[in-house]
């Protein structure tokens, strides 16, 4: 059933691309219906999959000559991420309700991207996964280059270049693994069972991890992320932060760790406490957590703050993955979901609710606008989203980061201690942004207090409210009752960590 999320998204993209121009309202409705249908299927698939392990959906030969199969399957991890994709798609369409430039093409690209993402999460054939991964990259480029803002060509090109470098690395490993295994198959399960030699895994693991890690914002290959997020139109930044970065993290988990677990084994030597690829990537993840938070603290552009916060939060995902402990990896997957929802919300508030009304994202200008009183909805939404983002209990981020920290403590306590610094800075940049954008410290100049009151902003529209509530509900439900997702994540992670994907 879950496979229909892919087909329906591509079909929707096709219909939108072919329909006559000029009927923006219809295009929106179609896009919403398609996204909602995908979400409904994702929910149904999630509910139906409860208590089951990996379920193969379809498995047919595709390129028999090379042993490539068209294999779609879902385990607990896939189902959670498909659910996230559906949620992000619906919210993204709602927050794009005001797009009037080439509306149908916008939504066509949007749905094509979504379809590619669904495809990646459901592919259990490495080649097929790679194809969907590439499909997801192309629409991103157009979404940014056509509908973007600040330095959009540069950002789009940067994003595309980084992505393609990453996929090139993945492709090299894909071919090498195919050749080395000798099993005449690119299926993830058969590759995992092929007993690839340790020496091969030792180089294949880091190449794959970096290749996918680029898209997950792995420091120092993260710089596409902030510029890309900032330049992208709201819905695209929501998808970039919300699901596209998860593609990278998912690849790291499913392919790098799933196929080449021995790549994480200790080397025969160690230097400054670094004695394996695991230590290397944990170090990069911890640097990313602190560094992303620090850079966010120094930004003058509201959206850049959120962009860098994504780098910091994705650091927790990567850290959780390389802990290789049950609790740490559980936390990483939960954090993927959590960050997808919360970052989407933050980008929506900044990009849609605020920017579309104020037409500036510079704190220096926002400070003089007294948004706390003029846009109370935005202010309160940002307070709650900010609180969720900084990992306060009751929201999904807390449970996720707590588990990552626990896993990291079991692996190496200093990873946890260092990440703690990142959390503190996280509080500082969130509150700084909140204060400067909404509750200014600055006293008003006389000319900023027009007698007849400020010019009115456009009222908050129903799609904005609906989508905000939807995302809030998601982060709250998971925050208060995390077992709803963990029950499904845990057995899948356990199976994956046990080495086999049988």
């Amino acid at each position: 059933m879950l496979a229909w999320t892919i087909y329906i998204s591509f079909a929707g993209a096709l219909v939108l691309a072919l329909m006559p121009k000029g009927n923006a309202a219809l295009a929106r409705v179609i896009a919403l219906l398609v996204a909602a249908a995908g979400f409904a299927i994702a929910i149904a698939g999630f509910a139906a999959g409860a208590g089951q392990g990996r379920v193969t959906i379809v498995d047919v030969p595709w390129v028999p000559m090379m042993g490539i199969h068209y294999t779609l399957a879902a385990d607990g991890i896939s189902r959670v991420l498909v659910l996230l994709t559906g949620l992000a798609a619906v919210a993204g369409v709602l927050f794009s309700w005001n797009i009037n430039l080439r509306t149908n093409e916008f939504f066509a690209f949007f749905l094509a991207l979504i379809g590619g993402v669904y495809g990646v999460f459901l592919s259990f054939d490495l080649f097929l996964l790679f194809v969907f991964y590439e499909i997801a990259i192309v629409p991103k480029y157009f979404l940014i280059a056509i509908w973007g803002s600040t330095r959009r060509e540069y950002a789009a090109m940067k994003l595309a270049l980084y992505s393609f470098v990453g996929s090139a690395m993945v492709l090299v490993v894909l071919l090498a693994a195919y050749a080395t295994s000798g099993s005449h198959s690119t299926g993830l399960v058969s590759l995992a069972n092929a007993n690839l030699p340790v020496s091969f895994q030792m180089w294949a693991f880091p190449v794959t991890f970096i290749g996918f890690g680029i898209l997950a914002g792995l420091w120092p290959f993260h710089t596409w992320a902030p510029t890309g997020h900032v330049a992208a139109p709201t819905a695209a930044s929501m998808l970039l932060a919300g699901v596209v970065m998860k593609l990278g993290a998912y690849g790291c988990l499913r392919v790098a760790i799933g196929l080449f677990p021995h790549g994480l084994d200790p080397w025969s030597w160690s230097f400054l406490g670094i004695g394996s690829w695991r230590d290397v990537f944990a170090l990069l993840a911890v640097i990313g957590i602190i560094y992303g938070a620090l850079v966010a603290l120094a930004q003058t552009d509201f959206k850049f703050v959120i962009g860098y916060s994504s780098v910091s939060h994705m650091g927790f995902v990567l850290l959780g993955l390389v802990t290789l402990t049950q609790v740490g990896v559980d936390g990483a997957v939960l954090q993927m979901f959590s960050h997808g929802v919360i970052a989407g919300l933050l980008f929506a508030i900044v990009g849609r609710v605020v920017y579309e009304r104020t037409h500036t994202r510079q704190f220096g200008e926002l400070e003089g606008m007294y948004l706390g009183r003029r846009l109370p909805f935005a202010a309160w939404a940002f307070v709650i989203a900010g609180v969720a983002s900084m990992g306060l209990p009751g929201f999904s981020g807390f449970v996720a980061e707590l588990q990552v920290l626990m896993g990291a403590w079991i692996a190496k306590p200093w990873w946890t201690a260092a990440s703690g610094v990142g959390i503190v800075i996280g509080v500082a940049y969130t509150w700084r942004a909140l204060q400067r954008a909404f509750f200014t410290d600055r006293l008003p100049r006389p000319d900023e207090h027009p007698k007849e009151g400020w010019p009115k902003f456009d009222p908050i529209t129903w799609p904005e409210i609906t989508a905000t509530c939807l995302l809030f509900a998601a982060t709250l439900i998971v925050g208060i009752y995390p077992s709803i997702l963990l029950n499904s994540i845990e057995p899948a992670v356990k199976a994956l960590l046990a080495g086999g994907m049988q």
Binding site: V60, D330, P393, F398, L402, E490
Partner: protein
Amino acid sequence: MQEAIAFTPQLDASSIARWLWLIPALPILAAGIISVLKQPRRKLASNLAIGSMGISLLIAITAFAHVLSGWAHDHAVREVVNFSWLTVGTQAVELGWVLDPLSAVMLVMVTFVGLLIFIYSTGYMEHDENYTRFFCFLALFAGAMLGVVIANSILLLFMCWELVGLTSYLLIGFWYFKPSAAAAARKAFITTRVGDIFFLLGIVWLFAQTGTLLFYDHGSGAIEPLALGGLLVHHSHWGLTAAGAIGLLIFAGAAGKSGQLPLHVWLPDAMEGPTPVSALIHAATMVAAGVYLIARVYPLMAGGSIAPGTTTALTVVTWVGASTALFAALIAVAQNDIKRILAYSTVSQLGYMMAGLGVGGVAVGMFHLITHAFFKALLFMGSGSVIHGVHEEQDIRHMGGLRKYMPITFLTYVVGMLALCGVPIFFSGFWSKDAILESAHAWPLSHAPYYMLVFGAILTAFYMTRQVSYVFFGEYRGHGHAHESPRVMTTPLAVLAVFAVALGIIGTPAWPWFRAFLENHAASVEMHAFSEPAWLMLLLTSFVIVILGIGLGWWVYGNKSPRANDPDALQKAIPPVWTVLANRLYIDELYGATVIAFYYWWAKVADWIDRDIWGDMVSTVIWLTNHWARLNKFLDATMVDGAFDKGCEEIYNGGGVLARIQNGRGQVYLRLLALAVVILAAILIWSGRP
């Protein structure tokens, strides 16, 4: 010394324990309902909040009575209700709540003081346009705080603890249109959060070591002997046991919330919030949560010691507490804002409680916590009444002579002040402070904390006398007419004043009922305790302290009626010391110049790296690629294409049919593409059939 009664595990919790969750749930529910009320429904909003708090108080009293009757029948009550929240591998992370003497005492105090403050707020906030929102936050805060109190899982405690921090942020910044209020709220949140991260690390470590986060779990909880034994064997660095190290991490969290050095800087600024908030959060409940937390995890801190209070962890607690008590009292001497004086006084008294926990144990610290909650709430609400009466003026130099205009406020305020100064026999503050001094005197490691606390006590009496002289004596120096506050505000003051006097009775040396109750042994009346030389010595010391402090204060400030702009009497006498104290020992400035500057500097460096180094790398690659591409283009155009073009020309001439499709219209291309996709899909689906 009486025999301690062993806690017998109670597998089946009594019904009152099972329904204990209602105590925090009711105010939270009320907050939820209020949040969806329309602005004009003011009466309903405050009634909901007060009603929920009232019912919570009744349940708390019932629970307290239950524990009390168990204790009276030599049957120690510790009932827990636990449930699993999530499973991590084979381990379950459990949450739960506990009813024991410690939580029962705290529950009654918080609900009772909270209820009085809620009632008082209806008067104080009467004219505020965001009245309903205020009660929403207030009720939410109370619920979260009560959650901290009943939590039997350190994780649940932490969750409620963070919610407390958040609501505190919202309440301090309630008047967010005042820039200083907004900044103070942010400062409070970030500073306490610094401590909380250590707290979180402590939790993670505890879980990694013991596999449980419950305090009590029928013998297998984290602070019960079994787990504790394991923690004590495991040694960490610097001579600490794992238990002590975890305890210290948790103490860092407690220090953040309870305003201990060096994380005290947020508390005085937090006075920007409405006064009932200061009374509720920054006197009676939230700041006391840190002390309560340490009392709760006391076995972790105290485990493995031979003499009482000599573990490394408790030594740290004692020194931090004593230093805080002294430094904050010093700073309080040179403040002019009526609420800031009380704020520093609170910081100082919290230092006493921490020191009391360190040297004397749970009962000593908690006794002062309880008495302080009453008389400090009284003082804050009294100051609120004063501020209300003199038209929102907070500078004590612009008050004066108010005893004539505000008699009830004056009388109750003086009761609170005398209790805070620790005037012997008649005031509760004496008994609780006395117990701390007594334990500090007996502390085997050093006498320095004792002298610090004694000196702090003299200062306390001094600055309170200064404040009362400025506010209530002399001539009125403010603007407008001062007036007494309405009945709804003065009645809670009177009630609290009674308790500020009467509460001492539960902890006199002759009948140490409170201590016996918390430590679970029987209490008896032993009047001869009053004639023991050690105690008489302490009584004498207390007399000297109070007479010195109040006498000095009265001598310097009493009935002088200076003009509003006159420099302070101390300022004239010792200007350099005054300047340093008035600037709060420059601690805020120190942080600004070091920690904060450090982070901003690093942030700038990281930003620069990102923009100029990583960013430039991308540009360089693009530049190189472009130029390489141009070179290729040149080669291509001149050499390869020459031959290719010739060949193409021939083919092109014959390609008339295809040219009709290649008409350059996007729609047509897309349609063809679509057709191809449909065909492809059809093939796929057909071939995919089994």
